[in-house]
Structure formats: structure tokens, C-alpha cells
């Protein structure tokens, strides 16, 4: 199953592929001129203070979009992707975007690099429910943004 999410949900430092957009025509054609087409890769670079707008990179052009607009663009994550945006399924933990303290905290929850985890059904906007080594735990978005995983083949 492919997980399709809105672009505004993607945290910094993630990559994703454009699936489709629900934008008004004029805006869509403007973005097309900048290389924003289905099938192309976007990198989420930086969010402004207070979280909006966000700078995105497509090809070598950096542009900034508001959340109102980016939420109309549907994307699928490119792996490694942060745990916060992947859909249900089995994944392998690849790395953490964070310092040593963060890594220790995550390790103490039983999540280690190279480990297999299963993302369980959870409601959108809630904490993420995962199963690690047979144990169910809930992880907040802030943390999940920094745990990068890859699909288990």
C-alpha cells in the first residue's frame, strides 16, 4: 500500500514525489513552469518561524509555499521517510535526525537502528501507534519526525 499524504504534512529534511494537485488552474500552471509536475521529487527544506510557509526544493529552484496551498498537493514519501508520514506496514529503522540525547531516548523505548517495527492503524493527528518487538507503544509527532525508516522488503 502506498501512503499518499498532503505536502504540508511532510516535515523538514524529507523527500517526496508529487502525485497530484488539487490547486486552482492558474496556480497549477505556474507551479508547472517551475518544475512541479506529478512524478517529480520535492525536498522539504525549511519551515518559517511558526511553521508556515515552507521552502521547498525542486530541481535547483527553492520556492516558498504557504500551508493553505501545499495542503492541496498530494505526495508520496520517498524512503527513507520519517515515521510520522508513513502508512501502516512493516518498516526498518534506518537513522535518527537528532543528537545523542535523542538517540538514547529512542533506544530506551526499544527502538534501535536496523530494527524492524510495525506501524499499526492510528487516527490522523494522534500519536503514532507502533509495535516493536511485540510491544505496542505510542510515539508523538515531534519524535516520529526524526525517526527515518524504510519499507521492509
Amino acid at each position: 500500500m502506498i501512503s499518499i499524504i498532503s505536502l504540508n504534512k511532510c516535515p523538514e529534511n524529507t523527500r517526496c514525489i508529487i502525485v497530484e494537485s488539487d490547486l486552482p488552474d492558474s496556480f497549477r500552471s505556474r507551479l508547472m513552469g517551475l518544475g512541479w509536475l506529478p512524478g517529480r521529487e520535492i525536498k522539504v527544506l525549511r519551515k518559517a518561524p511558526f511553521g508556515d510557509p515552507t521552502i521547498y526544493l525542486v530541481d535547483s529552484t527553492e520556492i516558498s509555499l504557504r500551508e493553505d496551498d501545499s495542503k492541496l498537493i498530494k505526495v508520496e514519501p520517498v524512503y527513507p521517510a520519517p515515521l510520522s508520514i508513513v502508512s501502516e506496514g512493516r518498516y526498518i529503522v534506518l537513522y535518527f535526525e537528532g543528537g545523542r540525547v535523542f538517540a538514547q531516548k529512542i533506544n530506551s523505548l526499544g527502538i534501535k537502528i536496523g530494527q524492524e517495527i510495525t506501524v499499526l492503524p492510528h487516527e490522523e493527528g494522534c500519536k503514532i501507534n507502533i509495535s516493536v518487538g511485540g510491544e505496542n507503544i505510542f510515539i508523538g509527532y515531534g519524535m516520529a519526525n526524526k525517526i527515518f525508516v524504510e519499507k521492509k522488503k
Binding site: G35, P38, P49
Partner: protein, 638 residues
């Protein structure tokens, strides 16, 4: 002599205007943010036996234009049919730039690719096979560094060389090509449409471009297919990808200086404090560095005035009171205004403008303005008239109108002499703070007006924010000199023209009838007739008259008072104002009516007299109300 017309077309901020300056030897204003050029600019040069006319067009990403500046570029290309198009592209960003190139080639006009910013290409360690690129596109490609210099001779030679090379490459899949050629044939057979480039028109109509649809009306049967515009765009990008893959080598992502700077300047926590400190630094720098120069000029003019008074008769008075004390009182601020433009030049040339717009977009959003609308507002601190022109980049009609109407509330450089004179006379060490407070009020009023106008006009649309982040550049001395001079000379021209004229009129009015004491002069009679209206604000007839003449150009407020002052403006102000009414005058000068030049620009940009008239009535009422309230409250407190 043969006449040819060359159009410069390209994405925003790729260096078209620099290239234009290099070709024609002109000094057009360039800066490092997308959308600097919003109107077409024409220049000329001679080469061999050619008279070449060069037209610099506003930057566009595609020919599917929406906003006014984009339409200007597209219309010129389609309707005026230049002999040659120089498509200026940013060599570091070929993929994005070539999209427009493909569209331009489709219009059938003879196109030359100007591969610009080759110095940056080298810095970023990118390698481009220019010859192969030229082969793949079927058009001449010329490398340039427009900010340094360009080799006009070799450019013109390859541009005019007979390159009847057939363009053989295929971009679109066969099923699309078939539709294009059938529609294109119909266009060629249509009396009214055959004057347009048929292939371009066919593709644009099928893409669903509104302008093209408008041209063909119902004359053609256009096959409707789902998502065809997407297929067309995709085909173009696939083609570009294959070309770029073949001709370009770029190193794997490297951490550039721009990345490093952005890490700090757009930082989540540090970004906004840095923005505020930069604004404060600009303010401080402008004032403290210009003060000694201004003081020097001021002393000079006062000595000159004393000397002029020794000329007997009316000539001494005209020169002493009118010209030197009047116009001189404004010329004193030439250093201030030049340093202000110099600082703004650094801001614009470095690439920080786009980052600032990004940082405070959230705030602008709250005031129902798009991040793009921030740039005209910031430029308003230089000159409202030219800032209003830059609103052309905004798509929504209402949003654009609102941006035009709030712009005069950002306090332009012409109002600075008023604040500076008053602060020096009344607020001493707190002068800088008094002026800074006026700037803050200016921003607050402009933003509040945005909310009010949005409410009145029921504006819901805002231009979606797409700001391109240009690379940071170190502003060059030459660039800054051109920038500061091209904007500052406007001030000098005004001083020698409209300000001088207005000052002579004021002098005449205050000296007629001859030999009458100033209290009985025409000026006094006029001022006294109107003064009752301004009495509640604590302004006497001198100030009243100065404000009325200040409507012509804001600096005239100062020159008029200077004419009355008999050589010592600060002392004179002390006799007609107190600190409260002095600050009230600063407030009033900030808010009341846009100057004549700004009104004319409003008329031009909105196409109707309604809006400048509305703006005058609105801002005058607002200025009166705010000033009145301020004084009432101030006297209660003190």
C-alpha cells in the same frame, strides 16, 4: 543602416537587466529578487551597419501569463514579433529555465540562448557542454557573465549568422503531435488567425491557456482531452531532462554559502530577531553616517544665505529666503536620502529581500496580504510612486488594488526631511527614537488599512505565495553605485525642478504685495483663510500653508517653512510649534495625502481617477482624525 529589434526574455532574476545594461550601456536599476523589472524598457546600440533596438521584458517562467508584468512580456513576443529573441537563462538552473526556452522556440521567432551567470556556474563546479546544448536545441548558445561585461561583437555575429538549422528534435508523443498539426493547419487557413505563430497558438489552445483561447474565440474546434496540459508539460520536462542529463555535469549536493547563510537568516528562532536587527541597523547606519554630512551642508547653506542677504533689494530676499533657505533646507538631506538608498541597495542586491518576505509571511497572512505584497511595502520606504509599480506582480485584482492603496502609508524618503527637521528642533537626543516611532506607526497603519480595505472590498483571493529564493550575492560597488545614483538622482531632479518651482511660488506669495510685512502677504492671507480648519490640530497658518504645498512633493513642506524662517529654521519652528504639536505635525505629514507623483502613478496603475481621489480623501480624513486624537490624549497626559 538596417533596423532590428531584439527582445530579452527569460525567467525572473536571471540577469536580463544586467545584460540589457551591458548591451546598451544604460544604467537600469538591477537587484537580486524576482520581479524587479515590471515594465518593458527600451535601449539602443549600433553594431556595424545595424541600428539595434533592445527591449528588456519582465521576467516570466512560462508564456502562460497571469499577472500584469507577465502579460507585458508575452504580448510583446506574440504581438510585436521582434526580429530576434535573446533568451537569457541562468546557467546554474538550466532545467527550470529551458521550459520557457521551449515555449519561446515554439513561437517560431529566431531565438538565441544567452547562457548567463557563467561565473556562478564555475563557482558551483558545474560543467556545461555548450556546443552540444546548441545542437540539441537547434539554436545558437552564447556564454556570458552579464554583470562583468559582454562581447557584443561575437554575440551579434552568431545571432545574425544565417542559422537556418532545422529543429529536428521531437518533444511530444505522436498522438499529441497529430492534434497539434491538425489544429495548426486550421489556424493557417483562418484569415484572422494566420498572423499568429500557428504552432504556438495550437499548443497553447490545447493546453487551455486563457489568452490563446481568447484569440481563437469559437473559430476553432479544439479536441478536448483530459489532463492534456499535464501531458504537454510532462513531455517538455522529459525532453529537458534528457538534454540536461547529456550536457551538464554537476557535483553531488554540496553545502553552499547560500545554504549556510539561509541556515542562519531563515532560522526558526533566530530568523526574526535577525530580521529586526537588520532593519534597525539600516536605520541607525543611515542616520548616524549621514548626520555629519547633513550638518556640514546645513552650515554651508546658512552661511551662503547670510551672504545672499547682503545682495540689496528683492533679489537678495529671493536668493536668501527662497532659494537657499528654502530649497537648501531640503538639499541638506541629500546625504540622508542617498545613504537610505544605499542601504536599501545592499538589502535588495544581496538576496535578503526574498528571505525577509518568507520570514514575515505569517504576519502578512494575518493582515490578509500575501508574502509578495511585502516587497512593494518595503520599497515604499524609498519611494511610493515606484513601489506602486511593483504591485504588478500580484495576480488578484483586489489584492493589487489594496496593495496600491496602503502603499502611501509606508513613509517614503521624501518625508524623511520633515521628520529630521522637526526632531532636531524639538526632541534633541530622543530625535532618533521619535523618527523610529514614526516608522513603526507607518507600518502599523499600513497593515491595519490592509485589514480594513480587505473587509470593505470583501477580498477573499490572495496570490498564492510563490517566492523564489535567489542565491545570495555580495553586492558589488559598481552595482550599488548605479542603484543609489539611479534612485537618488530622482530626488535631486525634484529639488531642481518641482521643489524649486514650488519654493519660488511660495516666496512670491509671501512677498506680495511688495514691501508688505509677511503677516499681510498673500501667503499669509491664504494660510489664514484655511488655518481655522487646522486650528484644532494646533497648526498655525505657516504650517497649514506648508502642508498644502507639501502635497506637490513632501519635501516642499520643509522648503516652505524654510522660506518663512529667515535663515534659522529650527529656531523658527520653536516659535510656531510645541513638542506635542511638533510630533502631531510628524504624524500628520506621515498620513496625509499621497504626493502628486504617487497620485499619478495610482491613476496609471488602476486606470481610473476614482482611486487617487479616494486615497486623498481617505488619508486626509485619517490624518486629521489620528492627529486630533493624539493631541487630545497627549495634552491630557502631560
Amino acid at each position: 543602416m538596417k533596423e532590428i529589434t531584439i527582445a530579452l526574455i527569460g525567467n525572473p532574476n536571471v540577469g536580463k537587466t544586467s545584460f540589457f545594461n551591458a548591451l546598451t550601456g544604460s544604467h537600469q536599476y538591477v537587484a537580486n529578487w524576482p520581479g524587479v523589472t515590471v515594465e518593458k524598457k527600451t535601449g539602443f546600440f549600433k553594431w556595424k551597419d545595424y541600428n539595434v533596438k533592445v527591449v528588456d521584458l519582465p521576467g516570466i517562467y512560462t508564456l502562460n501569463a497571469r499577472s500584469i508584468d507577465e502579460r507585458i512580456a508575452r504580448d510583446f513576443l506574440i504581438n510585436e514579433r521582434p526580429d530576434l529573441v535573446f533568451n537569457v537563462v541562468d546557467g546554474t538552473n538550466l532545467k527550470r529555465n529551458l521550459y520557457l526556452t521551449i515555449q519561446v522556440i515554439e513561437t517560431g521567432v529566431k531565438t538565441i540562448l544567452i547562457l548567463n551567470q557563467m561565473d556562478e556556474v564555475k563557482n558551483l563546479d558545474i560543467k556545461i557542454d555548450t556546443r552540444e546544448l546548441s545542437k540539441r536545441l537547434g539554436i545558437p548558445v552564447i556564454e556570458t557573465i552579464a554583470t562583468k561585461s559582454v562581447d557584443i561583437d561575437s554575440i551579434m555575429r552568431s545571432a545574425l549568422a544565417d542559422s537556418s538549422r532545422q529543429i529536428r528534435y521531437e518533444i511530444y508523443p505522436k498522438e499529441l503531435e497529430d492534434i497539434f498539426s491538425s489544429v495548426s493547419r486550421e489556424i493557417q487557413n483562418d484569415e484572422n488567425l494566420k498572423k499568429y505563430p500557428s504552432r504556438w497558438l495550437a499548443i497553447s489552445v490545447i493546453e487551455g491557456d486563457n489568452f490563446a483561447k481568447g484569440l481563437v474565440q469559437n473559430r476553432l474546434v479544439v479536441p478536448q482531452e483530459k489532463d492534456v496540459s499535464l501531458k504537454i508539460a510532462k513531455a517538455r520536462y522529459d525532453f529537458i531532462d534528457s538534454v540536461v542529463k547529456q550536457i551538464e555535469q554537476r557535483p553531488k549536493e554540496i553545502w553552499t554559502i547560500t545554504d549556510a547563510l539561509d541556515h542562519v537568516f531563515t532560522h526558526k528562532i533566530l530568523g526574526i530577531p535577525i530580521f529586526i536587527s537588520i532593519m534597525w541597523m539600516i536605520f541607525e547606519f543611515t542616520f548616524s553616517i549621514s548626520t555629519p554630512f547633513s550638518d556640514l551642508l546645513s552650515t554651508g547653506f546658512s552661511d551662503l544665505g547670510n551672504y545672499a542677504h547682503s545682495i540689496p533689494g528683492w533679489a537678495g530676499s529671493l536668493i536668501g529666503d527662497g532659494l537657499i533657505s528654502g530649497v537648501g533646507s531640503v538639499l541638506t538631506f541629500v546625504p540622508l536620502i542617498f545613504f537610505l538608498f544605499f542601504s536599501m541597495g545592499i538589502l535588495e542586491d544581496s538576496g535578503y529581500m526574498s528571505r525577509a518576505a518568507f520570514l514575515i509571511d505569517r504576519l502578512m497572512h494575518r493582515f490578509k496580504l500575501s508574502g509578495r505584497a511585502f516587497i512593494p511595502l518595503l520599497l515604499g520606504f524609498g519611494c511610493n510612486a515606484s513601489a506602486i509599480m511593483t504591485t504588478r506582480t500580484l495576480e488578484g485584482e483586489k489584492e493589487r488594488l489594496i496593495s496600491i492603496l496602503i502603499n502611501p502609508f509606508t513613509t517614503c524618503s521624501a518625508r524623511l526631511p520633515i521628520y529630521a527637521v522637526i526632531s532636531a528642533a524639538f526632541f534633541g537626543a530622543f530625535g532618533g527614537f521619535a523618527i523610529f516611532s514614526i516608522y513603526m506607526i507607518s507600518i502599523a497603519v499600513a497593515l491595519s488599512m490592509a485589514i480594513i480595505f480587505n473587509f470593505i472590498m470583501k477580498n477573499k483571493e490572495t496570490t498564492p505565495l510563490i517566492i523564489e529564493m535567489p542565491r545570495y550575492k555580495t553586492p558589488t560597488a559598481k552595482g550599488l553605485a548605479i542603484y543609489t545614483w539611479s534612485r537618488g538622482k530622482h530626488f535631486l531632479k525634484k529639488a531642481g525642478g518641482i521643489i524649486l518651482g514650488a519654493t519660488v511660488v511660495v516666496w512670491l506669495l509671501s512677498n506680495l504685495p511688495f514691501n508688505a510685512p509677511i503677516q499681510d502677504s498673500l501667503a499669509a492671507q491664504m494660510g489664514k483663510a484655511i488655518a481655522p480648519i487646522f486650528k484644532p490640530l494646533g497648526f498655525d497658518w505657516h504650517v497649514t500653508l506648508a502642508l498644502i504645498f507639501g502635497g506637490i512633493a513632501k519635501e516642499v513642506t520643509v522648503t516652505t517653512l524654510g522660506t518663512f524662517a529667515n535663515g534659522n529654521l529650527e529656531q523658527f519652528l520653536g516659535t510656531i510649534l510645541n513638542p506635542v504639536s511638533a510630533y502631531a505635525l510628524m504624524l500628520f505629514a506621515l498620513l496625509y495625502i499621497p504626493c502628486v507623483a504617487t497620485q499619478a502613478t495610482m491613476k496609471m496603475e488602476t486606470g481610473s481617477y476614482k482611486w487617487p481621489i479616494f486615497s486623498v480623501v481617505w488619508s486626509l480624513s485619517l490624518a486629521y482624525a489620528v492627529t486630533f486624537l493624539f493631541e487630545k490624549i497627549a495634552y491630557l497626559v502631560i
